[in-house]
Symmetry: C2
């Protein structure tokens, strides 16, 4: 329709995970409607990031240095490690500014349906850190789903023998949430974990 360059861009976008041909076409159009002067800085930023950014060998965070900025920060509590599914979860916790220890990015959750087994998770570096005695407490901040719970259970079994503290983030009502907008599972969890006032 519009020459080989557009077709190639759509084909490359369609190879991104979660992108079908339709999403790829929409993304290509959104990009190509930009004036060239605006696209060029985006292309440069993408190239620089692709060149520089790697997963941190220690925690799995994405950064242009390895170990990552967070792992290398001496002000952070090196003995407190928060385990998350993905880098997006780490970013959310960092934006909230509520965790002052380190992280570990598993890169997924166990899923019988999707065929994700323990060997597909980035768990070995965490277990090595724990075995080396670097970790005092592990906080599990995995998704509140069946797969998340399965993964938390599996990881707990592996961490338990090391005798460190293991906790998980509380399940309950989101702050600012309305009670009647919550699903039954959240309501049950919020009641079960009620705290004395």
């Amino acid at each position: 329709m519009g020459g080989p360059e557009i077709e190639r861009l759509i084909a490359e976008l369609a190879r991104l995970p979660g992108f079908g041909p339709r999403a790829a076409r929409r993304a290509a159009l959104r990009l190509l409607r930009q004036p060239q002067a605006r696209l060029m800085p985006l292309i440069a930023a993408l190239r620089d990031a692709a060149d520089a950014v790697r997963p941190c060998a220690r925690c799995g965070n994405l950064d242009s240095v390895d170990p990552c900025t967070l792992c290398a920060d001496p002000r952070r509590d090196q003995g407190l490690v928060c385990v998350v599914e993905g880098v997006g979860d780490l970013w959310a916790l960092e934006r909230a500014g509520v965790h002052h220890g380190l992280y570990h990015v598993l890169g997924g959750t166990l899923s019988a349906l999707s065929g994700v087994g323990p060997e597909d998770l980035n768990a070995a570096p965490l277990l090595a850190r724990v075995a080396a005695g670097e970790v005092r407490e592990v906080i599990l901040a995995l998704p509140a789903t069946v797969d998340g719970a399965t993964t938390a259970h599996w990881l707990t079994d592996r961490l338990r023998p090391h005798g460190i503290a293991i906790s998980r983030v509380a399940h309950g009502m989101p702050m600012g949430g309305a009670l009647d907008a919550l699903d039954d599972g959240t309501l049950a969890a919020a009641l079960r974990a009620r705290q004395a006032v």
Copy 2:
């Protein structure tokens, strides 16, 4: 969180229309989770497309040649012009293979609410083609929305004095629907049942 390269990529993505900071972060993560060997062809494709692709001065289609491949195709009916809101609509009609004339991409619809006036539309080249006697019939394939209908009415007023045939795609398409979300059969029916205005 992950170095200046990631921040810059997110900032550039956030400048795309329809992208907020949240969508930009998600897009950046989706891109950076790719291995570099897979990102590089995407970056090259984007750079080549940004270098080559321009709006066709005649019809507003995006292509790497000007006039575009469609305008330059002698097998297409040069006297039959289908007016669409955006290039995505043109792509949808081309995928369906139901229009064998030329196109004209308006680049928007009149909208009092969004402050889009006639001067914001790419209408002048179409009116010039019509005034030059190149066009036998204009088919209006604008969105089935209030703004689309307003635009069709405004354009009809400008085309009428030239004494050409003016039609609009049949309202077989769902009201409020976007043209590029329709299946090929509906698109074909809507073109076939076009009615004189």
